[in-house]
Subunit: 355 residues, 2 copies
Amino acid sequence: MNFNAGPAALPLAALERAQAELLDLGGTGMSVMEHSHRGKAYEAVHNEAIALTRELLNVPETYQILLLQGGASQQFATVPMNLLPQGKSADYVLTGAWSQKAYKEGKTIGTVRVAGTTEKDGKFGRIPAQSELTLDANAAYAHITSNNTIFGTQWDKFPETGSVPLVADMSSDLMWRPIDVSKFGLIYAGAQKNLGPSGLVVVIVRKDLVEGGRKDIPTIFQYRTHAENNSLYNTPPTFSVYLLRNVLDDVKKNGGLAAMEKRNRDKAKLIYDVIDARSDFYGSPVEKSARSAMNIVFTLKTPELETEFLAEAKKLKMEGLKGHRSVGGMRASTYNAVLPEWCKALADFMKAFKA
Amino acid sequence: MNFNAGPAALPLAALERAQAELLDLGGTGMSVMEHSHRGKAYEAVHNEAIALTRELLNVPETYQILLLQGGASQQFATVPMNLLPQGKSADYVLTGAWSQKAYKEGKTIGTVRVAGTTEKDGKFGRIPAQSELTLDANAAYAHITSNNTIFGTQWDKFPETGSVPLVADMSSDLMWRPIDVSKFGLIYAGAQKNLGPSGLVVVIVRKDLVEGGRKDIPTIFQYRTHAENNSLYNTPPTFSVYLLRNVLDDVKKNGGLAAMEKRNRDKAKLIYDVIDARSDFYGSPVEKSARSAMNIVFTLKTPELETEFLAEAKKLKMEGLKGHRSVGGMRASTYNAVLPEWCKALADFMKAFKA
């Protein structure tokens, strides 16, 4: 039972499909990894991955879907490199360690400002209300981290930024529920949570932002370079794209994002209900309205109890429950591929452990 | 029989190992893709891949080995971003399309100059002699492409650049024979030829260059960021690193790079001998001293003959023999994982086709 925060559990069907055809993609006698990225066999996979992303998220035609490398951490740099011209400023809303990193990297490139933060004594236990944000109406963009893997918080409704493009790091948030893509200027997500293996980042970006992006940066970092070449400007990470295809195909076969959202909310409720019913024993450092359906953070009363909890969980073959080293406590990540029965087993174990 | 230029054939043993443990890495019950990059199981793989690179190439301790993303095309940008300060210039030797691309990307970042070119009527059929190079003794570095995938040329002996660090794109050249790493300041190689799947780039860089690198660039693009974090600053492409480990383990088991070089030279000779013995039928656009042991480029007399050649080869299950669209003709890529019997079969077919 894999509760890792990322890289995380992948759908068994997607992995089994990869295993079955690892040496022979569709009767070609070659692994997908051995195919030319300019050949028909790979191109079909590549285009299917993009088409499934568009279909499942209902991405408007006015948006480009890019498959890139370098992870979300590289997007921390390439977003301002492309979208933040000299003389302009960009807004960052800070809700955790990843938005702090994005903000800090933005500083290396241009003028960035904090348009809101929920930091308190070095921790972030909530998501700001719209009224708390001090947004710059002339900002090049406003950046949020839509789910905070480390602190276990998640934006339920996204902020209104008027005509300023909303940019969201959705690494641990994309593809677990339907979203209205048209609310965003740019969405990026490292694949290793709900999408596929690490080494791939999905970028969904409004075409006018691509076209208006800066041209005084290296070719390889311009979104237009990849947009104009269907993400085949240089060799893409072909196996990672292939796995993305397998994962999205599995999501579709299981009812798409509406079904996925119901399943995920039910999974999270199983665990949060145990925490709430035993609040004398399990602590929740997160404001209820900000609770993440992807990363469920909770604490026990003493370090000894936490150690014992992890040891007992390990005996039950539950992995990845230790909280991030920067915040401590426990964390159960319950992405799409984490099975409902694992969440049920964890909830039952939490009850038994308290008893 | 996979003669693709890249992504290319991978060793069957490396793929079979991946297939066998795709759902369960070393009895952990999880795929390597599902493991945390901070966990013991993945870290062992990661460190073994780096250690095997060091061992097989005999990399001195004064060099850092980095496992990065973005391919060689991203290195075209990050090499000058790190190593080319304002007020300095960098030398580029042009021997083909990839060195032209590296030079062009360098221009977007700083002052670069051409220190030699073998271009003639838009084509590159040879490698320059040392005497042809006009090297700047004050250059920040001198850049070469050590093997030219498209034109089928390869540096046999590398140029002398004195105290100027030699930087080499070895994407289609690394790990097929022993090299003296100490001759270089920095080597980079996209994995998808002799190393593993696409989506991974190996950088071997002198530690003093890392330390002296520019600090006024985004954190994610600084070599020091990755050097200080053992290439675990952000989530690495874990499956690609795992495959690199499998491939290098296979190279080691097959006798290391000395054995690999003999095998590769024998393979290339099989094909070049047919070309030379039938020079009234097969043309070689490459000067003999510059012939690549990795990419064997040859021509036939007419487009009709070339079409027929490819059609007959396809019947024999030979893939990837069509030359690059920019130069035409034929190209057989004979990387490490291309079996000697495939090269023998191709040579035999070439004889029969002429007959």
